[in-house]
Symmetry: C2
Subunit: 211 residues, 2 copies
Amino acid sequence: MLDNKITLAIVDDHPIVQEGLQKLLAGATNIIITGCFTTGADFIDFLKLHPLDIVLLDISLPDVNGIDLCKEIKKLSPATSVLALSNHSERSMIFQMLQNGATGYLLKNISGEELISCINEAITGQFAFSPAVKEILAKPSANELREIPKLTKREKEILQLIADGMTTSDIAGALHLSPLTVETHRKSLLQKFEVKNVAAMVKIATEQRLI
Amino acid sequence: MLDNKITLAIVDDHPIVQEGLQKLLAGATNIIITGCFTTGADFIDFLKLHPLDIVLLDISLPDVNGIDLCKEIKKLSPATSVLALSNHSERSMIFQMLQNGATGYLLKNISGEELISCINEAITGQFAFSPAVKEILAKPSANELREIPKLTKREKEILQLIADGMTTSDIAGALHLSPLTVETHRKSLLQKFEVKNVAAMVKIATEQRLI
DNA sequence: AAAAAAATACCTGGAAACAGGTAGAAATAA
DNA sequence: TTATTTCTACCTGTTTCCAGGTATTTTTTT
């Protein structure tokens, strides 16, 4: 009987947001709100028992983080589209959610019309973003980028091997170099990254997709 | 005079692909191919002199890698939409390109119709994916996931600090623990991650978004 | 209430990393 | 063809890490 209706759940720990969303969606007669939850655990319990088309998911919940919850939702019910709802506008956050199965990303300044159109987009399998998110995604990547150190070929090579867990002498063996040479490169790397040990370096390099 | 025409360039080192693309696009009267290039450098030279709406970019070129080239394109000409064209269907590759400014990702098995519709989508500012890519993106993230070790609270905390470049005694000071305790946790972490040093651990942890 | 898991702390010894240099050869850029 | 960068290699010494344990207390789960 819900044939061409969209079933939707809201997960957000702020009552005001819950109310607001319900009001914004009141106009859309093809959308039925089948549940409102304030914790990830409650929602998961619900999802185990009911099929669902869309979930509007606040990604800063008290009990679990948005990324883990999103993964769990998609594992439990792949057909359910997750629209992340958030105040965080960092590119990295957006991509993290998408990478973990979200179908869209909405900032909370979204209007009612925009929200409804995003839901309809998501239902057709498209990615859906609120206008503010689209703007962020449209910008090059000039955002919160730290200065990425310019590495030489050798340095990149050695950085890669360090991140794979190889020791200086391992690397020297693999590249047919003196361990002392590898140490020199390692030192240059630490200097360029402005860190004191490889742990910090590997974190940055991995985040920046240098490796 | 090109008011409602889409200007498009092709960058691919395989002549066959170049020809194929041109043929596929021949039917679209609103698309004008303004350049064909076989190297990233050639294309960049062109882009410095000519405005461009769309570039179909092969991401495995002989001279530069797709990610760097994409970044450079967006830096040089933010208005130009980059549609990545590739044989690589790994999720990580797709997201890397998007993260670095690509507007879409197409696998080379795309049909003419699909290609044209993707270009039109891209022009309106939307992300565009070929059907095969959509399928890949639709799958949960069950793909190339390694077993994520289950960490205790303390371990997560210490992992985070290790990744920030702190030494064992730094961490001990920060958490008001004995350095020996921190060492014990550090050892448990290395065991759980099945690695031999923190460099390898931090790489995995960063990739898996544990930190 | 018993069992399991997590957090705490200790010991020893060897391996590796880090800090601070110098310096010549080879490749690239100006 | 100079300059500059990159790659190579060395030296000394200190700090930190890692591997191999053991063991008590506190918390959580059953």
